[in-house]
Symmetry: D2
Subunit: 354 residues, 4 copies
C-alpha cells in the first residue's frame, strides 16, 4: 500500500535513493520456467542509462543489474526475483548546496512536508534514477509476453512535432538515432532543438508515443482496473509526466459518435481503431496506442530564485549534470511500464473463465 509496488500478480516493489548504496527491487509472480535472456535485460538498462550521447546527462552510471534470487540455471523459479543496481557514480558533494534550499518544481519541499525530513543528496527517492528498477522488471515482463510487441518513440520535443500516425512509420528505425524518433527528418529537427536549448542552459519537454501489437482480446478488468486506466497510472507515475491519452485521446472530443465509432467487420477486427485497442477497459485485439506528455526537466543551468527551509529567499545555482531533454531516455521506461501492466493482466486473464 505505501506506493512502492506496482501490479497485482506480476508485481514489482522497489527501493532506493539516488545517492544511497544501491537501488533495487523484488519482482514477484513471474511464472516459473521462463528462460531469461540476460543480455536483453541489460540492454534495456543501457537504453535508459545516463551519458549515452551528447544530448543526455554526462553522468556516467554503469547501471549493472545484479540478480540475487529467483533465477537458477537460466530459468525463473516462480520465487521472487531480487535484484540490485549499485549506485556507483554518486558524488554527494555535488548536492550539499541544495541541502537547505528548495529547488523549483522538484520534490524537495513536498518530501519535507510529508516526512519532516529528507535525503538531500540529489533527488533521493524522488530521483528518476528509481526508474532503472522499472526497466529491469519491464524487461522480464517483456520476455513473458512472447507474442506482444511494445514499441515507444519520441513524437514531439518542445514545439517540434512528428506529424505522422504510427502506421506511417518504420518503428524499426527508432533506435537508429539518439533522440529515438523513427522518422529521420523529425529526428533531425528534434536533435537540433535540443542542442540549441542545451547551450542556453535551458531544458525541454516532449511526447513519447507507444504502440502495442499482439495483445489478444480479453485482457483488462472492468470498472476500476480498465486496461487503459492501468496504463495511464503506469505512465503518470513516471517522473515528469503531465498527461496521458489513449486511442483518439483529447482529439476525440471534437469527433461525433457516428465518426468515432469503430465498426466491427466480417472476418474480425474493426474498420477504424479510435478506441486504441481497448473497449470497456478490455483489449479487443486491435493495436493499443497512447501518448505521454513529459514536462521540461526542472533542473536548468541558470540561477533561479527560491526559498530555503526557513522560508527565506535563496538562489538555486544552475549546476550539475543533467539532461536538457529526458524524452529519448524515457522511451525504454514507457515500454517497461507498459510491459508490467500487460504481464499482470495476462496472468489475471488466466483466471477469468472456468
Amino acid at each position: 500500500m505505501p506506493g512502492n509496488s506496482f501490479g497485482t500478480i506480476f508485481k514489482l516493489t522497489t527501493f532506493g535513493e539516488s545517492h544511497g548504496t544501491a537501488i533495487g527491487g523484488i519482482i514477484e509472480g513471474c511464472p516459473s520456467g521462463l528462460e531469461l535472456n540476460m543480455e536483453a535485460i541489460q540492454n534495456e538498462l543501457d537504453r535508459r542509462k545516463p551519458g549515452q550521447s551528447k544530448i543526455t546527462t554526462q553522468r556516467k552510471e554503469s547501471d549493472r543489474v545484479e540478480f540475487l534470487s529467483g533465477i537458477f540455471e537460466g530459468k525463473t523459479q516462480g520465487t521472487p526475483i531480487g535484484f540490485i543496481i549499485p549506485n556507483q557514480d554518486a558524488k554527494s558533494k555535488d548536492y550539499s548546496h541544495i541541502k537547505d534550499v528548495y529547488r523549483p518544481s522538484h520534490a524537495d519541499f513536498t518530501y519535507d512536508a510529508k516526512y519532516g525530513l529528507r535525503d538531500y543528496r540529489g533527488g533521493g527517492r524522488s530521483s528518476a534514477r528509481e526508474t532503472a528498477c522499472r526497466v529491469v522488471a519491464g524487461a522480464i515482463a517483456r520476455q513473458l509476453l512472447k507474442n506482444v510487441s511494445i514499441q515507444a518513440y519520441v513524437s514531439q520535443v518542445g514545439k517540434e512535432k512528428l506529424d505522422k500516425g504510427y502506421q506511417e512509420l518504420d518503428l524499426s528505425l527508432t533506435e537508429s538515432n539518439i533522440v529515438r524518433c523513427p522518422d529521420p527528418e523529425a529526428a533531425g529537427r528534434f536533435m537540433a532543438l535540443i542542442e540549441r536549448v542545451r547551450k542556453e542552459g535551458d531544458t525541454l519537454g516532449g511526447i513519447v508515443s507507444c504502440v502495442i501489437k499482439g495483445v489478444p482480446p480479453g485482457w483488462g478488468e472492468p470498472v476500476f482496473d480498465k486496461l487503459h486506466a492501468e496504463l495511464g497510472k503506469a505512465m503518470l507515475s513516471i517522473n515528469a509526466v503531465k498527461g496521458f491519452e489513449t486511442g483518439s485521446g483529447f482529439a476525440t472530443v471534437e469527433m461525433k459518435g457516428s465518426e468515432h465509432n469503430d465498426r466491427f467487420e466480417e472476418g474480425g477486427g474493426t474498420a477504424t481503431n479510435n478506441s486504441g485497442g481497448i473497449q470497456g477497459g478490455i483489449s479487443n485485439g486491435e493495436d493499443i496506442y497512447f501518448r505521454v506528455a513529459f514536462k521540461p526537466v526542472a533542473t536548468v543551468m541558470q540561477d533561479q530564485t527560491s526559498v530555503d527551509k526557513e522560508g527565506k529567499e535563496a538562489v538555486v545555482k544552475g549546476k550539475g549534470r543533467h539532461d536538457p531533454c529526458v524524452v529519448p531516455r524515457a522511451v525504454p521506461i514507457v515500454e517497461a511500464m507498459a510491459a508490467l501492466v500487460l504481464a499482470d493482466h495476462y496472468l489475471i486473464s488466466k483466471t477469468n473463465k472456468i
Copy 2:
C-alpha cells in the same frame, strides 16, 4: 484484485449490472464518528441521474440510495457502509435486439472475449450506471474532507471551447445551467451544439475540468502511487474517458524549463502553478487542477453496420434512450472520483511520520 475496488484505506468495492436487481457497493475505511449529511449524498446522485434535462437521456431512474449498514444514529461507525441502488426503470425488452450483435465501440465484444458470455441486457456491468455507486462513495469522502473543495465543470463540448483558466471563472455558477459550465456565454454555445447534434441522432464528446482547493502539503505517495497518477487512474476508469492531463498538461511540452518551473516565494507558496499543486507525486498546498477528455457517446440514433456473434455482418439499429453528450452528467462523477483519491491519501498521510 479483480478490479471492482478503488482505494486502499478509504476503499470502495462495487457490484451490479445495469439491468439486474440493483447496483451497490461497500465503503470501507471511513473513520468512525463522521456525522453524515444524507441529503447531500442524495443530491450528488441527483446531479448524476439520467433524465435531469432535455439534453440528457429520457430514461427516468430515481436512483435512491439505501444504506444497509455502517451508519447508526446519523454517524459512521467505522464499520463497512453497505448500500444498494435498486434498478427501477430497467426495460429488458428494449435490449433483446442486441443480444447477438456487437454494438460498435461498446464492450459487448470484449466482454464476450473475456468471459465467454455476457449479460446482454443493456451494458450489463460495462454500463455507466455503475458510476452511481462511485457518486455515493464520493459524496461520503467529500464530507470527510471538510476543508477541501472539489469543483468540476464542463470546459469543452465537441469543438466548442471555454477558453478561460479556472481562476477567471466563478465556479459557483456551474450548477446554474444544464450543461454545468460556469461561463454563461460558453454554456449557451454548448447547449446549442448539443441540441443540434441530438436532432441529427448523433453524439458529442467533451472535456471536464476539475479544481481542488485546500489540500495541505504532503498528500500522495512517491513512486507508483503519485497523487496525480492516482487521480489519472481514477478518471481514466470512468466510462468514455480517453485522456487526462494535470497542471500544465500536454501544453507543458511546448514550454522550456526556465518558464515552466514554479518558483517558491517568501511567505509560502509558488509564484506560478504549472505543477498543478503536485510535485514529485505529493501535494504542495497549491490548487490541484486537471482535465479529462470524454469521447462521444457510442450509442447513436443512426443505423450502424457491425457483426454478430458468428462474425456475420449485422445492423445495429439506432434506438433507445441515451445522452447525446455525457459530459454534464460526468461532472459529479469526476468530483466523486477525485474525492475518493483524496480521502484515501488523507488517511494514508496520518501514518507517514512517527
Copy 3:
C-alpha cells in the same frame, strides 16, 4: 485493507451489523461460466441458521440470501456477485439494557475503545451473524471446487471427546444428528452434555475437525501465504475461535523427527500423513485436515458483574436467546472458510507456471 475482505483473486468483502437493515457482501473473482446450484447455497445457510434445533438459539432468522448481480441465466458472469441477507427477526428493544454496560468477553468495550462509539443493538458488527455472508460465499467457492470435498464435524464438546481419527469415521453421518458428529455414540454424549449445561444457564466450547480431500499437489504459496497459514487465519477469524492446529498439530511436539516424517512411497503419496497434506506451505495431494477450538459462548443466562461506560460496577443480566454451544452451527462456517481459501489458491495456482 480495513479487514472486511478475505482472499485475493476469489475475494469476499462483507458488510452489516446484526440489527441493521441487512447484512451482505460482494464476491469477486469467481470465474465466469459456473452454473450455480442455488438450492445448495440456501442449504448451507440453513445449516448455519439459528433456531434449527432445541440445542441452538431460539431466535428464528430465516436467512434468505438475495443475489443482486453477477449471475445471469443461472451462470456466473465473471462480474462481482452482490448479495444481501435481510435482518428479519431483529428485536432492538431486547438490547437496550446493554447500551451502557460492557458484557464480559464480548466486544462491547473494545469497539468503544477502537471507534469511540458502537452500535449497541446486539453485537453490531461483532455479532456472529456476519458469518452468514461467509457461508454464502463459501457455498459458491465449493461449487467452483468440483473435485474437492470439504467435510467438518464436531469432535469435542466441553470435556466430552470423540477419540477417533477421521479415517475411522463415516463422515456421511455428520448431518444425521443435531450436534453434527458422525459418531452416534459421541453425538449422544455431546447432546446430553449440552442439554444439561443449557439448563444451568451456562455455555460450552468445543472443537470442530475438518477434512479436505481431492486437493491436487501444488496449491498454496511459499513463505507468508502458506496454505495452512491461510487456513489458520480463516479459522481464527471466526467468532469465538481460540486455537488452530493442522496435521499432527500440537501433538507433533512430542514426536521425534524419525517418527514424524512422512516417507514418500513408490506409486505416489506418503506412507503417513502427519504433514496434514501440506509441506512447505504447499499441498502435496494427501488429505488436508485440521482442528479448530471454540471457546464457550460468552452470553450466559446468569447475572454477571461488569462495569458500565463510566467504569462503574454494573450487572449484566442473563437474558436473551442464545446458543448454549455454537460448535454444531460452526461446522458449515468452518467448511465455508476452508472453501474460500482453497478457491483462491486454486485460481492463484493457474498463474504459477508458464
Copy 4:
C-alpha cells in the same frame, strides 16, 4: 499477492533462496523520523543465527544485514528500507545428492509439483534461512513500538514441559541459557533431552510461548483481520509450525462460559484474562499471549527411504549440518512476526476515528 509480502501499511516483502547470492527484503511503511538502533537489529539476527551453541546447527552463517536505502543520518526516511543478507557459508556441493530425491516432510516434492522445477541446492526458497529477513524487519517494527514489550520463550521440548504460567516466570532470564527457557530447572531438562536426541541422530519439536505487554485497547480489525487471526497467520507461516493457540487456547474448550468470561473491574481491566488480551479481534489493554507448536526438524541424521523424481524408491542419506531442535532459534522469529503484526495494526489504528 504472490505470498512474499506481510502486512498492509507496515509491510515486509522478501526474496532469496538459501544458496543464492543473498536473501533480503524491502520494508515499506515505516514512518519517517524513527531513530534506529542498528546494533539492536544485528543483535536480533545474532539470536536467530545458526551455530550459536552446541545444540544448534554447526553451519556458521555470519548473517550480516546491509541496509541499502531508506535510512539516512541514522533515521528512517519514510521511504522503503531495502536490505540484503549475503549467503556466505553456502556449500552447494553438500546438496547435490538430493537433486533428484524427495526428502521426507520437506518441500522438495511440493515445489516441483507447483513450479515444475526447483532450486535443489538446500531448501531453496523453502529454507528457514528466509526467516532472517523477518527478524530484520521485526527488529525495526519493535523500535517503532516503543511502549510495547514482546517476549517469547521455549515452554516445551519433546515431552518435557515447563508447567508454569508466564506470570510465574522471570522473563528476563530467557536469554541466560541456550534453550531460551526462563525457568532454569526446565531449561536443564530441555538441554539434556536435546543432547540425548542429537546423539541418536534424531530431532525434536517444541512449543514457543509469547507474551506481549503494553498494547493499548483498540488495535486489530473486526471480522477477517482480527488481531489474533493475524498473529495466528504470522506464526503459522513460520517454517515447521503446526499449531497456534491464543489466550486460553485449546484448553478453553473444557471450560464453561461462566468460568471463562473475563469480568471487567472498576478501575479498568479484567479480573481474569482468558481472552488473551483480545476481544472481538481487538486488543483490550490486557496482556496478549499465545503458544506456537513446532514439529521436529525434518532433516534427521539417519537414512530414510523415499522416492526420486521418477517415483522410484530411493534413500535419503542422513548427513549435513542441522539443528536437532529449532525452537530456541525460533524464539526471535516468533517475536519478530509478532512485532510485524503489531506495528501494522498500530499504524492502521491511526486511521480509525475522525
